[in-house]
């Protein structure tokens, strides 16, 4: 039965992805591990500082899992939130689950915690890369309405597998920030179709920056997570050289065009104007093989 992943809370999504009843939470809300920085700004804390972490099974296999709540502070990473993620990743290095799965919905660094948030994001990134280097699969599920942006956008793309729905976005700066800086002519933040074909799941999938594209359905995300448990790829020098060449070739193919329809055509996507109307299944046949090479996980 279909249930919208985007409309669920972080905890509901987590419950839908893991095997029923298998989630054991660490630092649960009752322990009140909250932000020390929000009260001075008149903002109420969250009992879990906006992220639930713990261990679970997915398809019968042991994973460590985290879910960011996009509703709280836009999912921004603060000192405690970041430390929960870093702790989870460091514990993975000790306890060796089959994978670390992160349900990412975040605007990036929590601006209300500024410097502490910035350093926290970096600690998460380093810990994630340690987990990846140790040979443990890392999976990002991006399916919230807020998307995955900023420092968390960078962190998410350090994982082996990024799974997105067409509703989701994965980028650095939101369209409003770009419009503020350089005007609506640069990026009209109210043009939703433009925003989604620039940073949304279908675009990232077609260009190879997203490894798996699913519908906005909790069961689809669960299935993709299970498949990604075996999609670990080590970051070797050769792998990074290959990625470097492919990313540069893609930038060269675009030139100064900067329009998604044109870029898709240049990359070899047939009938690019039809893309916004197609669902994940229909798009599956349209991704050029050369682009698929940029993606890292299971197709």
């Amino acid at each position: 039965m279909f249930s919208s992943f985007a409309e669920m809370s972080a905890r509901e999504r987590l419950a839908a992805v893991v095997d029923p009843g298998s989630f054991h939470e660490w630092l649960p809300p009752s322990e009140r591990v909250t932000s020390p920085h929000l009260a001075q700004l008149g903002v109420p804390a969250a009992f879990d500082d906006g992220v639930a972490i713990g261990r679970a099974t997915v398809g019968g296999r042991a994973v460590f899992i985290a879910a960011q709540e996009g509703g709280f502070m836009g999912g921004g990473v603060g000192e405690v939130h970041g430390a929960k993620l870093t702790g989870l990743l460091r514990r993975a290095l000790r306890d060796w689950p089959d994978a670390v799965v992160i349900l990412a919905e975040s605007g990036g660094v929590r601006l209300h915690e500024a410097n502490a948030g910035l350093i926290a994001v970096s600690e998460v990134m380093r810990a994630l890369l340690d987990v990846r280097a140790a040979g443990i699969a890392t999976v990002m599920l991006i399916g919230g309405a807020n998307g995955c942006f900023g420092g968390m956008g960078i962190v998410a793309r350090c994982a082996d597998t990024v799974v997105m729905s067409d509703i989701a976005r994965h980028a650095m700066s939101g369209p409003e920030v770009i419009e503020s800086a350089h005007g609506a002519g640069e990026f009209d933040s109210r043009d939703r179709a433009l925003v989604w074909r620039t940073t949304g799941g279908k675009h990232r999938w077609l260009c190879g920056d997203c490894d798996v594209l699913v519908d906005d359905d909790a069961l689809a995300f669960r299935g993709a997570a299970i498949a990604a448990l075996d999609a670990h790829r080590p970051m070797t020098l050769e792998e990074l050289q290959r990625e470097s060449a492919l990313l540069q070739a893609r930038a060269d193919a675009d030139g100064d065009n900067a329009d998604a329809f044109e870029l898709w055509s240049r990359l070899g996507v047939p009938e690019s104007r039809e893309v916004p109307e197609l669902d994940a299944d229909a798009l599956r046949t349209r991704r050029p093989a050369a682009v698929a090479a940029l993606a890292q996980g299971a197709a």
């Binding site: 980028a171 700066s173 990026f187």
Partner: protein, 233 residues
């Protein structure tokens, strides 16, 4: 201090570092051994092209000169705010750069970061913050975002954020704060070469920034939360 002055103080005339636009690259000789320099200048806005250029320079060092130390010279206003860079996946290019620096460290290259002017946001996350340790000149500034943009996004009043930027370590952009929080290992004051020498000698590659932040008192919660997660039943 501009990058030329930094290079002169570190290497004298013993370097071939050049600027090509905002991109810094070249080999220097330090204490008799070659060292690779990669970085940015002119408060560079880091877009896809500049991120990929830096990454290529890092990969070239790892490929051609195993074990050669890398010095990252950081002066950036953060990620470029352009639709084209978002279209082409600046988040991916930055992750790629971060992974290249991570690879260099894992292959035994000492990677030292120096913020010599300013560092913001994503530009800092995938440069100085990916080094073994990041250092800074005393006058440098590190920020997440400038106050006016922060006010727009958070809906907090600009005056409040300005005031906090002066008085509150979590908001103040001075690098001394980052030292207190564990984000920056040390400030290089007069003898820059001594700073680099000490940085190259410190080969502890574990991420001890949270413990540093707790020890120095600037960031007290993080290390304890990490410990609690490790110990949770």
């Amino acid at each position: 201090m501009d990058w030329q002055a930094v290079a002169a103080r570190l290497f004298g005339s013993d370097h071939a570092v050049v600027a090509d636009g905002d991109f810094l690259c070249g080999t220097a000789v330090f204490d008799g051994a070659p060292l690779a320099v990669v970085g940015t200048t002119h408060h560079a806005a880091v877009g896809v092209d500049l991120a990929l250029r830096q990454a290529r320079a890092v990969l070239a060092t790892v490929d051609a000169h195993p074990g050669r130390p890398l010095l990252l010279l950081v002066d950036t206003q953060g990620q470029a705010l352009r639709r084209r860079d978002e279209l082409l996946g600046i988040h991916r290019a930055m992750a790629h750069l971060g992974c290249c620096l991570d690879l260099a460290r894992r292959r035994g290259h000492a990677v030292v970061g120096l913020v010599y002017d300013q560092a913001l946001s994503g530009g800092f996350i995938t440069s100085g913050l990916m080094a073994d340790a990041c250092h800074a000149l005393p006058q440098a500034e590190i920020r997440v975002m400038r106050v006016p943009a922060m006010a727009r996004v958070t809906k907090l009043p600009e005056e409040l954020l300005e005031s906090l930027s002066r008085t509150n370590p979590v908001f103040a952009p001075g690098v001394a704060n980052y030292v207190a929080m564990g984000g920056v290992r040390s400030l290089w004051e007069d003898d820059l070469a001594a700073g680099l020498r000490a940085a190259l000698a410190d080969r502890d590659t574990s991420d001890a920034r949270a413990q540093e932040g707790a020890r120095r008192g600037g960031r007290r919660a993080a290390a304890d939360v990490v410990r609690r997660v490790l110990e949770a039943s």
